[in-house]
């Protein structure tokens, strides 16, 4: 092992953090707790000193890539730079040390922040109100679809049991619809990546609860028929859900609310630059048009005169979706991010789109684009021809990129693109970095011809080589056991 497990380093009797002796008169545990509830065998937590713990995680971190280390063009994930001031902001004691159940009068700063950011994000999206409870994009999707369900139910419109999802959609869309109790009806994309409007017309009807749409789509392309699409759905009595995964492409240029969407979720950890944390936390606020406001999760932050209050008295609310009010610490960072830009958020999108098109322009002689037109904030290429000609697959290209110290693009997604490479540079990369990536991609393209086996056996310079994922799935080893059975 590169770094032994915490458990493997454990030695009985070691301690890192200790606690003082009780300063109050004590009771016997057996007096306080019934015997059958007292733990008989302590949890086998590792026993380590502080230096070992710190070294362990320092060493582990050094095995990991991150945006702070180098370029991370993971398509659809918007791995932009996370400003350090936002980390400081979230750690201000007045934010970080507030309890979620404090009396309202003692958290006016928090409530003002939430209310203010809600207004700003409504402006960016063209929506009327917003909830911050969802902890991630998919959580926002669930919230949004449940809002749509509540809307239909409130109108007695209970036969609508279908949600339409394009075949290019993220897996979270169909999974969300299913979690919300809906049947998923796919709609095909046309060769240019847009939704097949004619096919959509065939599908919509009295069973249509909603259409879920990502725009720009996962192909990085803006659907030119978006208004027509939302009108078709609305005319059929359905509502339109906007998956904000790709909002980084359009801030200040276009707003989901103006495209006809009734519900929007945002990913603060993508568009608003809060760090991804190795998988989370994120934040997936959901914005709605006025007709859906009554259904928003409770509580809603309202401004009453110059005070802020939590409004729990909302009889049509879908209820709660998070134990408290959402990932507040993440929201603080997003607030700071918006305020660091103001109206110049538009330039964020401008440069995100510029960067993606530059990568596309330079790489398309080597990896063919799925659709050959200007893209938005990301581009989707294919290694189909390369694979046919050399046997080197997208996976191999990705693994070889690791040797260059660059995180590979998203691969094999969207599913409709063979040997897909989904590249999202974001606006926080400069030309020199893009050039370095582009040149590595071209070098690998050449190497696939000159030395395909070397590419196929990549990576060569990483701390571990290619990992046996099949073995992991076949013989699951999902936790440490002191004495494996």
């Amino acid at each position: 092992a590169l770094v032994p497990l915490l458990f493997e380093k454990s030695t009985p009797g070691k301690r890192a953090v200790t606690f003082p002796a009780p300063d109050v008169p004590t009771v016997e545990l057996s007096e306080a707790i019934p015997a059958d509830l007292i733990r008989q065998t302590p949890a086998a937590l590792p026993e380590l000193s502080e230096v070992e713990v710190v070294r362990h995680f320092t060493q582990l971190s050094r095995l990991n890539h991150g945006v702070d280390v180098d370029f991370y063009p993971l398509g659809s994930c918007t791995m932009k730079y996370n400003p350090k001031v936002n980390e400081e902001a979230a750690r201000i004691p007045g934010f970080a040390l507030t309890h979620p159940l404090q009396p309202e009068e003692t958290v006016q700063g928090n409530l003002q922040l939430l209310h203010t950011l809600e207004g700003w994000l409504c402006e960016v999206t063209g929506m009327d109100r917003m909830t911050f409870q969802p902890a991630a994009g998919a959580h926002g999707e669930l919230t949004g679809i449940l809002l749509i369900r509540a809307y239909h139910e409130s109108r007695g419109d209970t036969e609508r049991n279908e949600v339409i999802v394009p075949d290019s959609a993220h897996g979270t869309n169909p999974a969300t619809a299913a979690m919300a109790g809906y049947r998923v009806v796919p709609v095909k994309s046309r060769p240019d990546g847009s939704i097949d409007v004619d096919a959509l017309r065939q599908i919509v009807g009295p069973k249509t609860a909603a259409l879920m749409m990502t725009n720009p789509s996962t192909l990085g392309l803006f659907d030119p028929h978006v208004r027509e699409i939302t009108e078709i759905v609305h005319q059929a009595g359905g509502l339109c859900y906007y998956d904000g995964a790709n909002l980084n492409a359009i801030m200040g240029y276009a707003r989901p609310g103006d495209m006809g969407f009734d519900v929007v979720h945002l990913n603060l950890h993508k568009t608003f630059s809060t760090p991804h944390g190795g998988g989370g936390p994120g934040s997936g606020p959901v914005g709605v048009k006025s007709h859906l406001v009554p259904f928003l999760p409770v509580p809603v932050v309202e401004k009453q005169g110059d005070r802020y209050a939590l409004d729990w008295d909302r009889p049509q609310s879908i209820g709660k979706i998070h134990g408290f009010w959402g990932n507040f610490g993440v929201i603080v960072r997003a607030y700071a991010y918006v305020l660091a830009h103001g109206p110049a958020l538009k330039e964020v999108s401008e440069h995100a789109v510029l960067n993606a098109n530059y990568v596309l322009a330079r790489l398309k002689p080597y990896y063919e684009p799925y659709v050959d037109r200007y893209c938005m904030h990301e581009c989707v290429l294919s290694a189909r021809t390369l694979k046919q000609e050399t046997g080197v697959r997208t996976l191999d290209v990705a693994k070889r990129l690791l040797d260059e110290g660059v995180h590979p693009p998203t691969i094999y997604f969207p599913l409709i693109v063979e040997e897909a490479l989904m590249i999202e540079p974001t606006e926080t990369e400069d030309k020199a970095t893009l050039d370095r990536f582009i040149e590595a991609m071209i070098r690998i393209h050449d190497e696939a011809r000159s030395n395909p086996e070397y590419v196929k056996s990549a990576p060569h310079k990483t701390p571990v080589g290619r990992l046996d994922e099949a073995l992991a799935a076949r013989r699951p080893n999902l936790r440490y056991r002191a004495n494996p059975s």
């Binding site: 590169l2 890192a16 582990l60 944390g277 998070h322 507040f328």
Partner: protein, 458 residues
């Protein structure tokens, strides 16, 4: 532009390479005029970093916080001590700014940490496997409810009324869409009514969602409850306070099928309710029903041990509408914090934290119960949180405490009017039911200050 490193010169060169004269052409080629926003965003002017921090500090100064107020609030979020090394680790850019470890060869740090997290959660709960985290305790309970429904095929679920009302509302929200009926099992005093449970727990019911210590702070009779639930082949879902597991029996030892927890107590700042950590652990036999990411050990082509995301066939990006959940982004960094926390306190430290919390809570309860007009809401055993019946309205008590730089006295009577008796607010009866939580951080002096302040309320 604040975080955009593209100079005018580079921009010009890039536009040339693309073959357009301005970025506007790129947008015009994509976005139809009918949906273009033709005005600047109506947002406040940008602040420089210096101004931004000053503004945020001003905003934060309008809050009372536990650095300056003694906190006796609980209700699912607790003011436990966070060792300094936790933040030192999670600030490392390689952890903070990575994403889900899709490329294991350059993600061994995150992957091994997840594997260790999973292992720790299994040790704590007595379960066989854990996922890599859920959003929070409430959503973990809701996902567990979904697992029960899918596993048993039964569309009714019991939920103990002693489960946090916030959690119950989240579960209700999740279950509504898939048409699952949630049936509340009432209280008998401050814990679950076992007679009513027995009556309600039928073969049509998928199982029971229980919380122990419950929202009021009291320990449920888990062994009797387990027998009743399993007698009808239901599944037994238990929500716990992970800190309590330093002293209290692991749910695995009393037959829980799924264990969920709010992991905030494990080294995570209160942060006004989030980001927190949803723990979800279960038995091997329910592995395929498990939502969320799971890391597993394997080997690389050089014969070294390594870690990968595994069992992905459950997940939305593979299985789409047939996935066990739609979860994608989770709370990985918070799970890392909990991992660091548990590594730091270790076996003995967790027991100490639990014991100190218990001892201080019992001292506080005893002292408050001695005050004229105040009494405990029940005599069931409790861990670090308890409920008292107060002679004054909740808002009044809270306000008086705030004046004394104390946060505490959670108004549980509003959610559980039955605690106030048939004639709530009637002459001579209690005016409020309030819960107090006491962690290892509270000193005797602070507790005495709380008691003195409460003593002034009559």
């Amino acid at each position: 532009m604040r975080y955009v490193p593209i100079t005018q010169a580079d921009k010009a060169a890039m536009l040339r390479e693309i073959g357009v004269s301005s970025t506007e052409e790129l947008f015009a080629a994509n976005i139809p005029a009918e949906v273009r926003l033709n005005r600047p965003l109506n947002l406040p002017p940008a602040l420089t970093e210096m101004e931004l921090l000053a503004h945020l500090r001003e905003l934060a100064a309008q809050n009372a916080h536990t650095g300056e107020y003694a906190c006796f609030l609980g209700g699912g979020a607790y003011d436990h001590y966070v060792p300094a090394a936790v933040d030192a680790v999670i600030r490392r850019g390689e952890f903070l700014t990575a994403y889900t470890p899709y490329q294991p060869e350059i993600s061994q740090g995150v992957l091994q940490a997840i594997y260790e997290y999973q292992s720790l959660m299994c040790e704590l709960t007595g379960m066989d496997l854990s996922n890599a985290s859920m959003y929070d305790g409430a959503s973990a309970l809701a996902e567990a409810a979904g697992m029960v429904v899918n596993q048993t095929g039964r569309s009714k679920l019991l939920v103990a009324r002693s489960v946090s009302p916030l959690y119950r509302r989240v579960v209700q929200t999740y279950m509504h869409g898939i048409g699952v009926e949630l049936i509340e099992v009432p209280l008998d005093g401050v814990t679950l009514d076992l007679n009513r449970l027995e009556a309600l727990m039928t073969e049509e019911v998928g199982g029971l969602l229980l919380q122990t210590p419950n929202y009021l702070g009291y320990l449920e009779k888990v062994r009797e409850i387990e027998a009743l639930v399993h007698a009808k082949n239901g599944l037994f879902v238990v929500a716990v306070d992970p800190i309590s597991l330093g002293l209290l029996e692991a749910p695995g030892s009393y037959g829980a099928d799924i264990v969920v927890a709010e992991g905030q107590g494990l080294g995570v700042p209160l942060s006004y309710g989030g980001p927190y950590l949803g723990v979800l652990a279960t038995r091997d036999r329910f592995a395929r029903r498990m939502p969320g990411r799971i890391a597993g050990a394997t080997v690389d082509n050089r014969g070294q041990r390594g870690f990968v995301l595994t069992m992905q066939a459950r997940e939305q990006h593979i299985r789409r509408e047939k996935a066990t959940s739609n979860i994608c982004t989770n709370q990985a960094l918070i799970a890392l914090a909990a991992t660091v926390y548990l590594a730091l306190v270790g076996k003995e430290g967790l027991r100490e934290v639990a014991n100190l919390s218990l001892q201080k809570a019992h001292y506080a309860a005893q002292q408050i119960a001695r005050l004229p007009g105040w009494r405990l809401a029940g005599d069931a055993p409790f861990f670090k949180e308890f409920t008292v019946l107060a002679p004054a309205a909740a808002a009044e008590v809270s306000r008086r405490l705030v004046d004394r730089k104390i946060l505490g006295g959670l108004d549980v009577g509003a959610d559980y009017p039955e605690l106030l008796g048939g004639a709530a607010g009637s002459a001579g009866g209690p005016a409020a039911a309030l819960s107090f939580a006491v962690t290892e951080k509270r000193t005797r002096a602070e507790i005495d200050r709380l008691v003195a302040a409460l003593g002034e309320v009559k």
